[in-house]
Symmetry: C2
C-alpha cells in the first residue's frame, strides 16, 4: 500500500490536488486556527481556493458556538464568510431533529445537556427545548428533585429527544433528568463523541466524555451528529448538493476528520500537521485512517502553480 | 444444570443452609433495608444468626457513608452492630490505598471525586487527600482554571491516586483536575462501577456512571474496590480472616452480589427477592450469575428448625 501524497513544496502536485475538487470541507480547530490564533497564511489560502471557484464549507464538531458565533470568529480572524458556509455539530443536530427525525409536535421537545450554541441552532429550526443554559438546571440536586424525578412530576411529558453536547456546566441534576427521559423512550442524540476538547494548548473533557454517564446508565448508544458519524455528512448533503467524488475533507485528526471523509467516500482527504495527528499516526500498523494527501500546514497550498 | 435451592418455608433446608456457614456477608440495600425502611423481621433474623454463632459482615458498594455513618443507620433501624462488622466500598478503597498500594509519601495524595464517606475513611487510614467536598472544587470552571490546569500550576505534584465514587456534586472542574492527574500517571481507582444508585424507589446515576467520563477520556480501566471486583473481597479478607468455603454472600443483585460470591469461590450464595434481581434473571439463558440458594426475603430464614 502506498502512503499519502505529500504536497508541501510541490507546486505541480498542489495544483493537481486543487483541480481534482470542487468542494473543500474544512475542519477549523487545528486547521484554520488554534484557539483564538489564526494560522499564518490561512486567510490567503482560502482566498486562493475561492478565486479558483472552489466551494468552502467549515465543518466543526464544536457545539458550543452557533453558526452566527462562528461567523463572528471567522470575520474577526480576517476570513470573510457567511453562515451558509458554516456547519457545526449543533446545527447538524438541529437539522437532524427538525428535518429528518420530525417527531410530531408537541412530543418533539428536546432536553438539552449543553451550551448556548445548541440552543441557538434549535431556535433557528423552531425546535422547542428545555434544559441547556437555563439557571433552573444549573444548581445542585435537592431531595425535592429526587422525589419529583423519581415520581415523574418534575419531568416534561413532551420531551422526545435528549441531546447532549459539550457542557462545562454538567451536573448531577441534568444527568438525572436526561437519564429519566431516556428511560421513558426519548431518542438519544449527541453532537459528537470527541473524548477531549482543546483548550489552552492542552486537552479537557469533550462532549463525548460528558455524555458517557448517559451511555453507561441507559445502555443505549447515541446517534452522533458530528464527525466521523455519517449522519453529519448526510445532514450537510441535505443542505448543500455536492458531488462526493469532487469533494475533499481537510482536517488534523485521523479519527474524526480523515475517517469521516473516507467513510463518506469523498474524492479525497487532506491531513494537515498543525493539530492533533502526526505522520507516525497514519504510518502505524493500526492507524484508524490514512489520508490520501498531507501537508505540513494548510497555507502550503498557496505554493500552487499558476492555473 | 439444577437451579438454586429455594429456602422459603422449608425449615429443614434453612437449618441445613445455616449450618453450612460460619460467616455471612450481607449486602444492605435491597436485603436489610430499602432506603430508610428496614424490612420486617430482619433484625430478628440477624439475631438468630448471631445466636447460632455466625459472624456477620455488612458489605455495601455505597460509598457515600463511612462505617461510622452505617453504624448509626443500623442502630437507628434496630440492628445492633459495631464498625468492625461494616465494610463499605469507601473503606475498601482506603484500605487498598494504605495497606496494599502503599505509595511512598508525599506522593501518596489522593484526588477525590466523591462525597464525605470517602473522606472519612481516608482520614481513618491517614491517607492525605484533596478534592472531595472541598468548596474550592464545588463551583464552575473559570478561564484561570483552564489556564492553571493546562500549564500544571494549579495541579498538586503529590497526587498519586485518583479515587472516584458516587458524587451528586460532580462538575467539569473536578473532572478536568482528575483527568490531568490521570494523564500524569496517577493510579485510577473507583469505589464501584454500579451504573445506577437507588433513591426514592427509582434509579439515579451511580458511581460507575459518574466515573465514565474519566474512563473514556483517559482510555484507562480503573480498579474497582466494590462488588463484584475481587479487590473488595481481598480487602475484606485482609481484615477478617475467614474460610471462604464456610462463607456465604447474601444479596439482591446477580451482577454485583452473587457474581462477587461466585468469583470469590465462597461456599455459597443466597439471593433474596426484595431488591433488584428477580427469579427470571437467573433463569435466563444469559444470566450473569446463578445463586446457590434463594429466598423470598431474608427474614424467611427465621423459620429454621430448632438446632
Amino acid at each position: 500500500m502506498t502512503g499519502p501524497k505529500y504536497l508541501t513544496g510541490d507546486a505541480a502536485a498542489i495544483s493537481d490536488f486543487i483541480d481534482r475538487f470542487d468542494v473543500f470541507l474544512l475542519d477549523c480547530d487545528g486547521v484554520i486556527w488554534s484557539g483564538d490564533h489564526v494560522f499564518e497564511g490561512v486567510p490567503e489560502t482560502l482566498e486562493l481556493l475561492r478565486s479558483r471557484g472552489k466551494k468552502i464549507v467549515f465543518v466543526t464538531n464544536n457545539s458550543t458556538k452557533s453558526r452566527e458565533a462562528y461567523l463572528k470568529k471567522l470575520t474577526s480572524l480576517g476570513i470573510p464568510s457567511n453562515t451558509e458556509e458554516i456547519f457545526g455539530s449543533a446545527y447538524s443536530a438541529a437539522i437532524y431533529i427538525s428535518r429528518i427525525l420530525k417527531l410530531p409536535a408537541p412530543k418533539n421537545k428536546v432536553f438539552v445537556v449543553g451550551e448556548s450554541g445548541i440552543e441557538q441552532e434549535l431556535r433557528t429550526e423552531n425546535v422547542p427545548f428545555i434544559g441547556g443554559t437555563d439557571p433552573a438546571f444549573r444548581r445542585e440536586i435537592t431531595p425535592a428533585d429526587f422525589q419529583g424525578i423519581a415520581d415523574g412530576s418534575l419531568l416534561d411529558p413532551d420531551v422526545g429527544v435528549v441531546l447532549a453536547g459539550f457542557d462545562t456546566h454538567i451536573n448531577y441534576l441534568k444527568l438525572s433528568h436526561a437519564f429519566h427521559y431516556l428511560r421513558r423512550g426519548a431518542v438519544f442524540l449527541v453532537t459528537n463523541r470527541d473524548s477531549t476538547f482543546p483548550m489552552n494548548h492542552n486537552l479537557f473533557p469533550g462532549a463525548g466524555s460528558i455524555s458517557m454517564p448517559l451511555v453507561y446508565m441507559s445502555g443505549q448508544e447515541p446517534l452522533s451528529l458530528g464527525k466521523p458519524s455519517q449522519a453529519m455528512l448526510d445532514a450537510i448533503e441535505g443542505k448543500f448538493q455536492f458531488d462526493r467524488a469532487r469533494t475533499c475533507m481537510v482536517g488534523d485528526r485521523l479519527n474524526t476528520d480523515i475517517k469521516f471523509g473516507i467513510e463518506g467516500q469523498l474524492g479525497g482527504t487532506l491531513a494537515v500537521l498543525t493539530g492533533v495527528s502526526k505522520k507516525e499516526d497514519w504510518e502505524a500498523a493500526d492507524a484508524v485512517a490514512v489520508p490520501a494527501f498531507y501537508a505540513d500546514k494548510l497555507s502550503d497550498l498557496r505554493a500552487a502553480a499558476a492555473p
